[in-house]
Symmetry: C2
Subunit: 380 residues, 2 copies
C-alpha cells in the first residue's frame, strides 16, 4: 500500500489547493479573485505548491478578452481518496484523486444486515483491492470515507437510531473504519453526501434541497453553499405526517408518516398487496415505464405527498432549487407530481425562481460528495 504522510500544506496554501481541487478556480487570477489574496501572494503560493508537486500547470484556459490564463490542476500524484456509498444491498466504491476525479468506481453487492463490523471490514478490504488494482504506485492515500443509509452523528461518527440498519445503532463507525488507517475518516449520511456531490453540479445555486428517493426518503440541505447538519439530524422528512384518507402506522410509532406512503419500500409493499412482485425500487420505475397503471398511480401519489411536504419547506427555506435523486428519481410521474404540488401550493415569491429538477451529478455524485467533504478534512 502507499504511504500515509501528512499533506505538506500550511496556511494559505491549503485554501488555494482547496479552491483548485473543488473546481472553484483554475487559474492564478481566479484564485486571487475568489480567495481575496493579492495576486502576487497567490503567485508565490502557487509556485510553492507546484514545487511540492501538489499542483501542476496544464495548458491554458480560454481567454476572456486578454492573455489566456495558465490552467492549474491538482496533480494526480498528490494523493488518493477511497470513498464508498453504502446501500442496503450494494455499495458503490471508488478511488478519487484530490480534485474529486474518479480513477475507478465499482458497484458491489453486500448486506448491511450482517452488522457493522463485517460490513466495514468488507469496505476496508475492498478499498485495499482497489488500491492494489488501480492505485498508481507511489501515490499516497490521503483519506477514507463512506456514506451510510441512516442518521449519523457528525461529532462522534456514530450511527444513531437507524430505522433500516439492524445491529448498527450507536455503533462507532468512524472509529472502527479509522482503525484500519491513520488518516482522516469521514462518515456521513448518504443523502447528505448526495447533496454535497450535487452542489458541485449546480454552480450559482447556493441553497439546495436534495431529495434522495430510494428505498427510504432522505434529504440533504445545502445552505449558503455548505451542508447544513443542524445538530446532526437535519434533513429528515420521512417522518412528517401527511394528509391521507387511510391511516397507516409507521415503524417510528406515529401514524401516517411520509415514509409509510412514498418511500420505495412502501411502494413495493403496496404493489405486493396488489399481487405485483418487485425486488428493488428500480423495478417500480420499470413498471411505470412499462405503463402498468397501478404502479403509475402509486408513484404519482407518492410524488404528490412528497410535494406537499416540500411546500412547507420551500416556503420556509426558500431554496434556489429542489434536486431529486435516488433510484425513484427517473420515474417521470414522480417529478411531475412533486412539481405540481409545489408550484400549486407555495407562495409565488418562493417559487418565482425555484427550479425543480432531477440529479445532474450522475451516478457517482454521492462519491464526489464524500470526496469533497474529505478534502476539507485533509486540508483542514
Amino acid at each position: 500500500m502507499s504511504g500515509k504522510e501528512r499533506l505538506p500544506v500550511r496556511g494559505a496554501q491549503g485554501d488555494l489547493l482547496r479552491l483548485v481541487a473543488t473546481g472553484h478556480a483554475e487559474s492564478r487570477a481566479q484564485l486571487a479573485r475568489i480567495s481575496g489574496l493579492a495576486a502576487s501572494s497567490v503567485s508565490l503560493r502557487v509556485e510553492e505548491l507546484i514545487d511540492t508537486g501538489l499542483l501542476v500547470e496544464e495548458g491554458s484556459g480560454t481567454s476572456s478578452g486578454g492573455r489566456r490564463p495558465r490552467r492549474l490542476r491538482v496533480s494526480p500524484a498528490a494523493g488518493l481518496l477511497a470513498v464508498a456509498d453504502l446501500g442496503a444491498h450494494h455499495a458503490r466504491l471508488g478511488l478519487l484523486d484530490l480534485s474529486g476525479v474518479p480513477l475507478v468506481v465499482e458497484e458491489r453487492a453486500c448486506d448491511i444486515a450482517l452488522g457493522p463490523e463485517a460490513t466495514l471490514d468488507w469496505i476496508a478490504a475492498s478499498f485495499d483491492e482497489l488500491l492494489i488494482a488501480h492505485g498508481p504506485p507511489g501515490v499516497p492515500l490521503r483519506g477514507v470515507g463512506t456514506g451510510i443509509p441512516g442518521p449519523v452523528d457528525p461529532a462522534s461518527g456514530r450511527v444513531v437510531s437507524p430505522s433500516r440498519m439492524p445491529g448498527w445503532n450507536n455503533f462507532p463507525v468512524a472509529e472502527h473504519l479509522g482503525a484500519h488507517y491513520d488518516l482522516p475518516v469521514l462518515v456521513e449520511n448518504d443523502a447528505n453526501l448526495l447533496a454535497v456531490g450535487e452542489a458541485r453540479s449546480w454552480p450559482g445555486f447556493d441553497n439546495l434541497m436534495v431529495l434522495k428517493a430510494g428505498s427510504g426518503i432522505g434529504c440533504g440541505v445545502i445552505v449558503d453553499g455548505r451542508l447544513h447538519r443542524g445538530r446532526g439530524a437535519a434533513g429528515d422528512i420521512s417522518h412528517v405526517r401527511v394528509r391521507t384518507d387511510s391511516s397507516t402506522m409507521c415503524s417510528c410509532g406515529h401514524p401516517d408518516c411520509l415514509e409509510a406512503y412514498a418511500s420505495g419500500a412502501a411502494l413495493m409493499d403496496a404493489l405486493a398487496g396488489l399481487g405485483i412482485a418487485t425486488r428493488r425500487p428500480a423495478d417500480v420505475v420499470a413498471l411505470v415505464e412499462d405503463g402498468v397503471p397501478e404502479a403509475t398511480a402509486l408513484v404519482r401519489n407518492a410524488g404528490r405527498l412528497i410535494g406537499e411536504v416540500l411546500t412547507v419547506l420551500v416556503n420556509f427555506l426558500n431554496p434556489d432549487a429542489i434536486v431529486v435523486g435516488g433510484s425513484l428519481s427517473t420515474a417521470e410521474p414522480l417529478i411531475s407530481a412533486i412539481r405540481a404540488a409545489v408550484y400549486e401550493r407555495c407562495l409565488p415569491l418562493a417559487t418565482r425562481d425555484l427550479e425543480i429538477a432531477v440529479t445532474r451529478g450522475g451516478p457517482d455524485a454521492a462519491l464526489l460528495g464524500a470526496g469533497s467533504l474529505l478534502l476539507d478534512a485533509v486540508l483542514g
Copy 2:
C-alpha cells in the same frame, strides 16, 4: 443634525470593532482568540482604534485565574444608529450606539394604511426629533433602518406582495427612506429583525427558529449564527396548509392556511364571531389570563396548529432552539401547546437537545437586531 462622514476603519480594524460592538469580545485576548489574529496584531489595531476614538478602555473585567483583562467598549461617541420596527398600528423607534445599546426607545402610534410615503416620511421625521432631543452633540448618525411587517426583497429593499400592507406592494422602501440620508439604509422583515436580535441573547445556539406570533405569524431563521434569507422570502410559515375539520379560505387564495387559524388576527375574528370584541392581539392574551374559556381554547388550538407545522421544520432543520416572540407569546397555553405538539411528533433525535422558550431579548429585541445588521452595513 450630526455629521455623516464615513467610519474611518479599514481592514482588520473593522472586524475587531465589529466583534466588540456585537458583544462577542470585550478584551484584547478574546479578540485574538475569536478573530484568529495574533495577539500582537490585535494590540496594534486596538491601539489605533482607541486613538481614533472609536474604542475606549473602561475598567477591567473579571479574572479567569490570571491577570484581569482590560475591558474594551465601543465609544459612545463613535456614532448612532436610528432604527424602527414598524407594526400595523404603532412603531417602536429608537437610537442605538454602535454597540447596540439603546439611548432612547419610544413607541408611537401610526398607521401603515396611510401608504408608504407618508409612513416613511413620518419615520424620518421621528428620527430627526429623537436625534434633536436625545442625540449627544457631535456624535454622527451612521445608519438608519426599519423593520417591515411584510416580505422584503433584500437586494432591492422593496416590499413584495405584503398581505396586510395596502398600497405598499413593490414600493422601494430602502430607496425612499435613504433619500433623507446619505448613509447605509436597512430594510428588513420584522420577524427577521426579531430573530437577529434574539440571537444575541442565545449565545451558543447557532441554529434558531424565531417565531413572531402577533397579528400575523412570521418566522426568522438563524442558520450557523447568521440570518437565513434564501432568495428573500425565507421563514414564511403562515401559508402552510394545516389539518383541520372545518375549511377556511385564506386571503392568499388557498384553503386552510395556518394564518387563517392561528394568527392574532384570526383569533380576534373568531372571538368576534362569539360576540367577544378585541382590538389587539394583546387583548386576546388578557382574556386568556382572565380565564375566558373561549379565548383559552382558541389560543391552545392555535398553538397546536403552529406546533404541528413546526414539527416538519424541526425534523428538517434540526435547530438548537425555537424561540417564540410577538404579542401572543405571553399566552402560556400557546407555548404549552406548541411544546406538546413538537415533542410528541418530532424525531427523538431532533428534540433531544431542543429548547422551546419565549423571547429572552426583551421588547427591543427587533431594534437590537436592526442595529446588529446595520452595524454590518456600516462596517462593511
